[in-house]
C-alpha cells in the first residue's frame, strides 16, 4: 500500500510544480470526484479478483443498469425507482455471473465475457439507439453536487472504502475471500463454502456496478446504450495498479482507490498542461508503467532490506 502512495506522491509533486491550477483545493476535489466514479465501478470487482475470479461485465452491467434506472425514473417520476431498477439489474447480472462460474463451472473470463456481450445486446435492443435524458436537479446532485463543499460521490467512495475495510479485515467472510483467492481447493477442504462465497462476490460486484450506473446517470444527466463500454478497462486497471493480484489472495479496496486516483491524475494533469491529444495515449501508458515500476522496485528493495 505505502509503496503505491510513493507513485501518487511523485505524480502530485510533478503536477504541482508544473501547473498553477493543479494544487488548488477545488482541483484536488475535482480529481477525487472523478476518481470516486472509477472506484465505485471497480470496488466489487476488486473483491472478485481477490477471490481469484474476474468480472469483465462491470462496464456493460453499469451501462444497462444506468439505462434501466433512467427509464424507471422517466416512467414513474420517482428517484427511488431509479435506484431500485439500477441495483436490481446489477444484482441479477452479478448473481447470474456467480451461478455460471460456480454451478456451470465456466471459467470467470469466459462467463463474464459472454455476459458482457449479452448485456450489450439487451441494451442495444432496449435503447434502439435512443438516449434518455433530462433528470431533476435533486437527482443530478448525486453525481455532480457537493455536501459541505465535498463532492457527493466522494462520500460514497469513503463509505465503500470503510465498509470494504471492515469486511475484509474484521469479518470471517472477508478472511474466507482471501483464503479462496489464495487456494480454492485448500479453502474448500478447510470447510469454507467456496461456491456460495463466490456467488456472493459476483453479486456484490454486480450490485456495485448497478450503483455506479445510477451515479453515472446522475452525473451525465443522460443514458445511452454505449455509456459503460469505455469504463471496463479503467476499472480493471484501477484494481491491478492498486496492487490486487490477478491470481487472487492479495490486495484490497484501498489499493483500488489509489489506482483510481492515479488514472484520474493522469488525465487531469494532461488537460491542465494542455498535452497535445495525439500524445495523450502514449503519456498515459508511460505514467502507468512508471507508477507500477516504482511500486515493484521499492517493494523489492524493502523486502531485501527486511
Amino acid at each position: 500500500m505505502k509503496y503505491r502512495l510513493i507513485g501518487v506522491a511523485l505524480i502530485v509533486l510533478a503536477l504541482g510544480l508544473s501547473s498553477d491550477a493543479f494544487a488548488t483545493p477545488s482541483n484536488l476535489l475535482n480529481v477525487l470526484r472523478q476518481a470516486s466514479l472509477i472506484f465505485l465501478s471497480a470496488s466489487g470487482l476488486t473483491l472478485v479478483i481477490v477471490g481469484a475470479g474476474l468480472d469483465l461485465s462491470v462496464g456493460a452491467n453499469l451501462g444497462l443498469s444506468a439505462c434501466f434506472a433512467a427509464a424507471a425514473i422517466k416512467a414513474t417520476g420517482a428517484l427511488s425507482s431509479g435506484f431500485a431498477a439500477g441495483l436490481a439489474c446489477g444484482i441479477i447480472v452479478g448473481l447470474l455471473n456467480g451461478l455460471m462460474v460456480t454451478k456451470l463451472r465456466l471459467p470467470p473470463f469466459i462467463a463474464t465475457y459472454g455476459m458482457l456481450w449479452m448485456l450489450y445486446g439487451v441494451n442495444y435492443w432496449y435503447m434502439k439507439g435512443d438516449t434518455i435524458y433530462g433528470f431533476p436537479s435533486s437527482f443530478r446532485a448525486l453525481g455532480s453536487g457537493d455536501l459541505l463543499d465535498i463532492p457527493i460521490p466522494v462520500y460514497l467512495m469513503v463509505i465503500g472504502l470503510l465498509a470494504g475495510g471492515v469486511f475484509t479485515r474484521y469479518t470471517t467472510l472477508g478472511h474466507e475471500v482471501y483464503a479462496i483467492g489464495a487456494n480454492a481447493e485448500a479453502a474448500r477442504l478447510s470447510g469454507i463454502p467456496v461456491s456460495s462465497r463466490l456467488i456472493l462476490l459476483y453479486t456484490l460486484s454486480g450490485a456495485m456496478a448497478g450503483l455506479a450506473g445510477v451515479i453515472y446517470l446522475a452525473r451525465l444527466n443522460s443514458a445511452e446504450a454505449g455509456i459503460g463500454t469505455p469504463l471496463l478497462l479503467p476499472a480493471i486497471a484501477a484494481v491491478l495498479i492498486g496492487g490486487t493480484s490477478l491470481f487472487g489472495g492479495s490486495g484490497g479496496l484501498a489499493g483500488t482507490m489509489i489506482g483510481a486516483i492515479i488514472l484520474t491524475l493522469v488525465l487531469n494533469g494532461m488537460n491542465l498542461l494542455g498535452i497535445n491529444s495525439n500524445w495523450q495515449p502514449l503519456v498515459t501508458g508511460v505514467i502507468i508503467l512508471f507508477a507500477a515500476l516504482i511500486d515493484s522496485v521499492t517493494r523489492r528493495h524493502a523486502e531485501l532490506g527486511a
Binding site: 442495444y124 438516449t131 443522460s222 455509456i227 488525465l267 494532461m270 491542465l272
Partner: protein, 327 residues
C-alpha cells in the same frame, strides 16, 4: 417511449420471427430487391435516425432493407467482415457509411469486384467506385457552426475545443473546419484543445479539468453533440457559463438548444440523408438517373430555427426525390 412500450417489442419481434419462418418454409416469399444498409454503430442516435429514414424510403419503394451494424462502435475489422457476409448474400444494392473513410476502401473495392452497386452515404470514402455520394461535408458543417459561435462572441474571447477520437477521419475533418473558422477570427484565442474521444463522459471529465485551469472561457466547441452535452453538465455543476456548440443535430441537442443550454448544433439532416441514400440506390436499380453527388445544404440549428427538427423521427416522411435533386 415509456418503460412499458419499450418492453412490448420482443413479442412483436417474436411474432415477426415466427411469421418469417413460416413464410420462408412455404417458399412464398417474393423475390424482392434488397438493399444492404451499413451504419457505423448501434449507440449513436444519429444512425438510428438514418436507419428509420432508410426503412421509410424502402417501404415507399417496395424494397427490403438489411441492416449491417458493428457491435463494437465504429469497428473497422467488424465492418470489413460484414462486407464479406453481405457479398455472400448478394443484395441488389448497398448503401454504405464507412466507419473510416480510408480504412474501408478495400471493402468498397470488394463490392465493386462483386459487381454490387454501392451508394456512399454521409461520410465520404476516399476511394472505391460509387453510384453516387449522398451526404454533406463534415468540414463545412464544422466550419459554419464554429463561425456562428465566433460571431455570437462578437469575434473575440477565449475558447476551448473538445476533440473527437484521435486518428478518426471524421474528427480530422471537423478539426480542420474549426481551424479554418478560427483563421477568420484572429481575436478568438484557443486556450486548450483536448480530446474527449467523442464520448460524453470523457468530455464531461475533460471539461471539469479545463475549467480548473482557465478562469475565463467564453466559448466551447465540441466535435459532436454527445460531447457538447457532457460539456454542459460540467458547466452547470461548476456554475460557470460559456456558449457551447455541438455537431450532428441530435434530438437531445435540439432540446438543449430549446432549453437555452446549447447555443447551436450544426448538421445536415440525418433523416433526409437516410431517405435520399436509399432512394438513390433504388433509382439506380430501376435505371433512373442519379447524379454522382447529392450534397445537402448545412443547417446550424439555433434558438430561431429548431422547430420541426425536434419532432419524433418515426413520424417523419421522406421527401420526393425531385424536390431535393433538381436537374
Amino acid at each position: 417511449m415509456t418503460f412499458g412500450e419499450r418492453l412490448k417489442f420482443p413479442f412483436k419481434g417474436l411474432v415477426l420471427l415466427t411469421a418469417g419462418v413460416v413464410l420462408a418454409a412455404c417458399g412464398e416469399t417474393k423475390n424482392r430487391e434488397t438493399i444492404a444498409l451499413f451504419t457505423k454503430n448501434q449507440t449513436n442516435p444519429y444512425f438510428q435516425t438514418v436507419r428509420v429514414a432508410a426503412q421509410a424510403a424502402a417501404k415507399e419503394s417496395n424494397v427490403d432493407i438489411i441492416n449491417y451494424i458493428p457491435t463494437s462502435n465504429d469497428s473497422i475489422p467488424e465492418q470489413m467482415n460484414q462486407i464479406e457476409d453481405a457479398i455472400t448474400k448478394r443484395p441488389s444494392a448497398v448503401v454504405f457509411i464507412p466507419v473510416d473513410s480510408k480504412a474501408m476502401i478495400p471493402g468498397v473495392e470488394k463490392f465493386n469486384a462483386a459487381g454490387i452497386p454501392v451508394v456512399n452515404l454521409i461520410d465520404r470514402a476516399d476511394g472505391g467506385q460509387f453510384v453516387s455520394f449522398v451526404g454533406c461535408d463534415d468540414y463545412a458543417v464544422a466550419m459554419n457552426t464554429a463561425r456562428y459561435l465566433f460571431e455570437k462572441m462578437n469575434g473575440k474571447g477565449n475558447v476551448i475545443i473538445i476533440e473527437g477520437q484521435g486518428g478518426s477521419s471524421n474528427n480530422q475533418k471537423r478539426m480542420a473546419g474549426f481551424r479554418k473558422a478560427l483563421e477568420d477570427f484572429p481575436n478568438v484565442k484557443v486556450l486548450a484543445s483536448q480530446t474527449g474521444n467523442f464520448q460524453r463522459a470523457m468530455a464531461l471529465q475533460v471539461t471539469e479539468n479545463l475549467l480548473q485551469a482557465h478562469s475565463q472561457i467564453d466559448g466551447i466547441l465540441a466535435a459532436n453533440d454527445a460531447m457538447a452535452l457532457g460539456v454542459i453538465q460540467a458547466l452547470d455543476a461548476a456554475n460557470r457559463k460559456a456558449l457551447v456548440i455541438g455537431l450532428n443535430g441530435t434530438k437531445e441537442a435540439i432540446d438543449a438548444v430549446k432549453a437555452g443550454k446549447l447555443l447551436a448544433t450544426g448538421d445536415c439532416d440525418g433523416f433526409l440523408q437516410g431517405c435520399m441514400g436509399t432512394m438513390a440506390a433504388v433509382r439506380h436499380l430501376r435505371n433512373l438517373p442519379v447524379p454522382p453527388e447529392v450534397v445537402f445544404p448545412i443547417t446550424v440549428f439555433d434558438s430561431t430555427n429548431y422547430q420541426g427538427a425536434d419532432a419524433p423521427y418515426e413520424q417523419r416522411m421522406c421527401p420526393k426525390w425531385e424536390s431535393i435533386v433538381k436537374d
